[in-house]
Symmetry: C2
Subunit: 207 residues, 2 copies
């Protein structure tokens, strides 16, 4: 009977494991987390989508984690207090880490206003795999854009704890990448990120 049944002990220990490097060899690129942080309306989602499209078109395993996907699902139980924001970013970091470990380039587009929360994610990921991108745009520009009317609502007090208005945004001190969406256009921002990924040998081969 021992020979013919599923025996956890014997099989698990001897089971061939699929290593990250096996997955990366298969995919033709390394896994990484591209973490876009910045104010609301700074351009994070726009850059994320353009970057994802470019990566996908070049045969890369890639995916975006953003508010639409996370706030309605995994973190639907969380609000916007500092504690809940910390937990929100902690969970996103853990999920991003899982994706990175499959060898994907996972793009995270979240305001993620607290430095400590972002640094926590950096710490749980292998060196070089967490790429912090500061999507920098002056508050007044973001507020002028205000595509969803959120700043207007925040100014009226209709949205509490709104980053930049009634809640802090802590800029990255040493981000791997710094793009300025008030002076650089979308193509430039994406190209800067792609150049970094190539320079770090996350992306290899034909580009």
């Amino acid at each position: 009977m021992t020979k013919t049944t599923v025996q956890k002990k014997s099989n698990t220990s001897s089971a061939p494991k699929i290593l990250l490097q096996d997955r990366e060899l298969r995919n033709g690129h390394k896994g990484a987390i591209v973490w876009l942080t910045g104010l609301s309306a700074a351009g994070k989602s726009t850059i994320a989508q353009a970057l994802e499209q470019k990566l996908f078109d070049n045969n890369t395993q890639t995916y975006i984690l953003d508010g639409d996907k996370i706030r309605k699902g995994l973190c639907s139980d969380l609000g916007f207090s500092p504690e809940d924001r910390a937990e929100n970013i902690r969970r996103i970091g853990e999920v991003a880490k899982l994706f990175q470990e499959t060898g994907a380039i996972i793009i995270v587009a979240f305001i993620s206003p607290y430095r400590a929360d972002r640094d926590h994610v950096r710490k749980i990921v292998s060196a070089g795999r967490f790429i912090e991108v500061f999507v920098d745009c002056p508050l007044k520009k973001c507020e002028a854009r205000d595509p969803k009317g959120l700043y207007a609502k925040a100014r009226k007090g209709e949205i509490p704890e709104f980053t930049g208005i009634s809640a802090p945004y802590e800029q990255p001190l040493h981000p791997e990448i710094h793009v300025k969406t008030d002076t650089q256009n979308l193509e430039q921002c994406v190209e800067i990120i792609l150049a970094y990924l190539k320079d770090q040998k996350i992306l290899t081969g034909q580009w």
Copy 2:
């Protein structure tokens, strides 16, 4: 200035979106969640690893979510009370859904003892993409295997709320797949799952 900066409104709405079917076409298979449920030591992880290896060897984007990866990371704040188990499974379901939406075949290996928790995951995923696999093994066999000595500890009361001993296990009523690890060997169990995936056209092409 409008033309040269990253404008959320204009770019987001017109940005080309990558659809699940684009990803699946690229990967050469469909995305799905293979959800292994059963008692501790029933053989879930063993089957998960063997299945993952087989899928990977056949050029499939695949990954395992199990206790080692989740309980130490995403769900490190949760215990084993019914409420915490429910939240644990809810989060795993949300993460599995994200992976499925990238076009991967994500293998989940968790006791997941409560029917309602598993059914909740089924509900948040598109029809046909949640594949419940009942990894069935009688309690006395699992307890005899006891590779980690957990049942012995549970019997002594050293582990509270241990499924099968001091906490319930609710068998699936209508699982897509039912394997019996006390009478079927590992290869048979994996083959049954693969046959189902082929039958459902999750897996296509050469096998």
